[in-house]
Symmetry: D2
Subunit: 333 residues, 4 copies
Amino acid sequence: MRIGVIGYGYWGPNLVRNFAETAGVEVKWCADNRADRLAIVKKRYPSIQVTEDAGQIFDDPDVNAVVIATPVSTHFKLVKQALERGKHVLVEKPMTRSVAEGQELLELAEKKGLVLMVDHTFIYTGAVRKIKEILDGGELGELHYLDSVRINLGLFQSDIDVLWDLAPHDLAILTYLVSAKPKFVSATGSDHTGRGLVDVAYMTVQYADNFLAHFHTNWLSPVKLRQMLIGGSRRMLVYNDMEPSEKVRVYDRGVKVTTEEGIHKTLVDYRTGDMWAPKLELREALGVECEHFLECVRFNKIPWSSAAAGLNVVRLLEGATKSLAKNGTRVAV
Amino acid sequence: MRIGVIGYGYWGPNLVRNFAETAGVEVKWCADNRADRLAIVKKRYPSIQVTEDAGQIFDDPDVNAVVIATPVSTHFKLVKQALERGKHVLVEKPMTRSVAEGQELLELAEKKGLVLMVDHTFIYTGAVRKIKEILDGGELGELHYLDSVRINLGLFQSDIDVLWDLAPHDLAILTYLVSAKPKFVSATGSDHTGRGLVDVAYMTVQYADNFLAHFHTNWLSPVKLRQMLIGGSRRMLVYNDMEPSEKVRVYDRGVKVTTEEGIHKTLVDYRTGDMWAPKLELREALGVECEHFLECVRFNKIPWSSAAAGLNVVRLLEGATKSLAKNGTRVAV
Amino acid sequence: MRIGVIGYGYWGPNLVRNFAETAGVEVKWCADNRADRLAIVKKRYPSIQVTEDAGQIFDDPDVNAVVIATPVSTHFKLVKQALERGKHVLVEKPMTRSVAEGQELLELAEKKGLVLMVDHTFIYTGAVRKIKEILDGGELGELHYLDSVRINLGLFQSDIDVLWDLAPHDLAILTYLVSAKPKFVSATGSDHTGRGLVDVAYMTVQYADNFLAHFHTNWLSPVKLRQMLIGGSRRMLVYNDMEPSEKVRVYDRGVKVTTEEGIHKTLVDYRTGDMWAPKLELREALGVECEHFLECVRFNKIPWSSAAAGLNVVRLLEGATKSLAKNGTRVAV
Amino acid sequence: MRIGVIGYGYWGPNLVRNFAETAGVEVKWCADNRADRLAIVKKRYPSIQVTEDAGQIFDDPDVNAVVIATPVSTHFKLVKQALERGKHVLVEKPMTRSVAEGQELLELAEKKGLVLMVDHTFIYTGAVRKIKEILDGGELGELHYLDSVRINLGLFQSDIDVLWDLAPHDLAILTYLVSAKPKFVSATGSDHTGRGLVDVAYMTVQYADNFLAHFHTNWLSPVKLRQMLIGGSRRMLVYNDMEPSEKVRVYDRGVKVTTEEGIHKTLVDYRTGDMWAPKLELREALGVECEHFLECVRFNKIPWSSAAAGLNVVRLLEGATKSLAKNGTRVAV
């Protein structure tokens, strides 16, 4: 199998490195519209062909699949061209700028029988896969809430706000972990650079039952935090990605609600117990993901981070943007 | 000066102990409607008179001031009686259940020329007083946001929700630190015990400029977090109340936004520098507060945590409750 | 049962408070040679008789037991008098200034049939009792080492060095957890105040097998650390007393050593696995200890922190002092 | 300038990568006696010549300098050959297995007028360079102690013990920071694999004044700690290499010792104040070091990590080994 990588900016080098080290695949092309970036590719990987014109890759009948790591505003056009030329696609998150675009790509890929996968890297980490296993095993009981914080002194993006930049990671994890359908999205935020793009933002996702998910994204934080709390009726879980080793901790704590019929009174019992930090698979997530992409292409499988998953993330982001414009009023999704 | 303390539940014992150790004041009475609580008072402080009827304290002409540490639903009635009988009052937070009640008490105290102070304990800590000093000195520059997290596996209250239970601490700090007037409040949350009281809740306070304050309160968290971030244009600050020593950290970090006129482009510069943790006054906050109350009574001063401050907190809570009922739509305050 | 407490300095108030709250015991007397300390006792506990002469307590036939919380140099004389007058004794750690003194007291208590218990508070904490349970259950396998760090910007003592001040806590834990007999002690340290008393000191205790215990004590540390590592062949344990909640963590990690006969080669295998933080009993250790003392007196039981345990601690301290004088050369114990 | 790298095991790849990215130098050769390691070199760097015979590199007149990253037992022979063939040398730490070997190499390099530098990587980190600046500026006052902990579940070495494996890092830092000459070394430790090589070890270095340095090295720790405390008469410093950002913290804390003449009494005053974490240079240490090596070769400068510094480290390690053999009795160095 031969692939071409389009975009050699911040994340592209990681994609090239991981595919280069994956057995059974050859990185044949790398495209970028900046000559200096291509020079770096050439120095590191003399065997890779470089081009400023992604079209050359689409034209190459040897190429089975392309990896698109360009700014989000270009995703729709590039993915569409690739699919139309019969290439399988792995595209950076967020998949597209709108649900309409995402829907069109999803349908095109289905029609063509091609794999369209979104690079939701975090769901390929040992931590998130272990959390999935714990949730699927019912260990947490009924889910009460998911609270996510992803903040740091961030690189301001020129074309997207802090929600579109940081929240896709956590929305992809939410989508991966929780199969229920979200009902409403609301968001508040503030823009301190006068560009019309929020740099501090909060987003709430509501579900039919009382499950609630909340996301804090911030480019103006002095400290870097990457933390997710998941509360269930039986146990609770903390996923702290800044911890060097015990990233996932399961707390045998919970609240039991009972009602004494006779006295029409609600009783709340607390339970505290042991804490447990499972051993996690330490392999680089992107390596796992590259292999998964190959496997999906070869055996025509649906990726964990399928176009449908990517579309779910875009749907929540689009809803958040609408809510921001309506001063935080909730929006049905 | 002689005082009576009404309510010897969770917080009352701390109030009695601190007033008992404050020079120039005598705790003459303690009232509670539970005989077993009064027995404990009697054993620890044989010299304090106990009663199940708070009225006895109001009737005692020897008593100059009363301290009210009963459930919030009783505050209005008890404070009103005390003021009408000419007693100065220190009342637990939140001051009342509604703005209307709070407004009436504030006006009554003014009319009577009595001190009405609210027990916003945190603003008497060395940490918050140091933060106030830093903000007033302009060290952070223009304020961008305040983000507060106060979560733990909490004691479910029977009459109030998690916002009314936990947020008053942080809203009192906000009110103390930031003099600008809030414009809108919105809140989302979820109730997992079927009592109609949210146990996980998020609250946003918006201001005229782009300053934004956000509060996460949660009774269902496996871990206890007490953290506040304050971001400014020049520096940023973290107040972590769980840290045993360096609770306040000032980061010489920031973002500078400039616009290149010629090219109509916004440029964002990052600045990272040293971190600094100032030495904090370690005295117990409640002791500082008790002395402050005495001083206000003696010299007819306006307390730092005045009835007006208490009313500001109630106004934000009332707005949040309205927003919760309207699915998170923002409410003017 | 009626007791007298001798010494109302730093720790005495905690002893009086805990015994006062223990069912089945009355604190009848409190002695201190400072009138101002006795005034404080009188104010807090009007029913307790105070005296500057401990002899009055020994003379009172109503008193069954005495608690001695005076400087260590006075322990021998006071304990001896108490035992000779037929009183059971709970004495502060370290028990005495020398092994000879400790041995004499132990024998005297045995001869008189009285309880002589040493206040090794830490072994009554939920954390250390849980560790004992884990070790006794064989969960760690064969013990390899115990490493203890107890450092902070400390209160310099006028009569003892940092080892005699801080190490008794950890040596008491060692003695409680490990039943094997130590063979050698060595110590190095440094004195920065010119008083002939080390303020930074390291102490090693060697055992017959390859088990090694090491203690770092320091009055000149900018940070407060209270950490103990215990390494075993099957699992390893960290006891961090500064953690607010998960003080004890058990790591399913270890090293397996095998020898391939044919190739005369040692093979070392690593094993990493889950981490587990057991729920701990949260009751105040001193309260548990006071009840234990009463129970030992009533039912003539040997205390967990018996005179023999106290003597073991003094033997290690005496050895360390000798080693310090011999520039760190090891001393048999 | 052209160099050859000998040894492509654990650390060699980092050396090759950093020299490959350093301007003004070409990695011409890489030697290793394992063909599979050389195949990896060839794949990553097609332009580098590979060989199983280091002698080929010494024979190449084009090569100005060699970098030796082989097991320590081979250092002496390889460095000697390189120097004799007129090559400048950068050698892994520890420099040699004995002081005698190190002395011979130091003298040979001087005689030949060649640079002999030891890869004490840590002294090229932003953290250690900042600490050096703080100490040289006298900010800590008179130094009281240095306490180092470097522990983790480690890779057992087949030919050296835990002291020779881990302590060189910290002894190099000590040598870099403190110019005073050490007087005595003592060490205790324990071997749990029956190979005659300690895997847990403690080492004390004593100086003429009361300055004391202590090192805890451990291959059997469940947790990874990399922490150094440096106590001075005016301020104290913590260097925690596991912290992602604020690795160096300076505490304005100290102890002031005075003597009241009249009463022949030593008085100790405590001072606590602010904490300060200076901004650190974030560049990869090895890159800084590679450039420094080039500069020393070009301008005939003495490296920060000179052969003399390397010899100081070996002298302390040799002393520790002797002390271990004498059951911890101190050894003059």
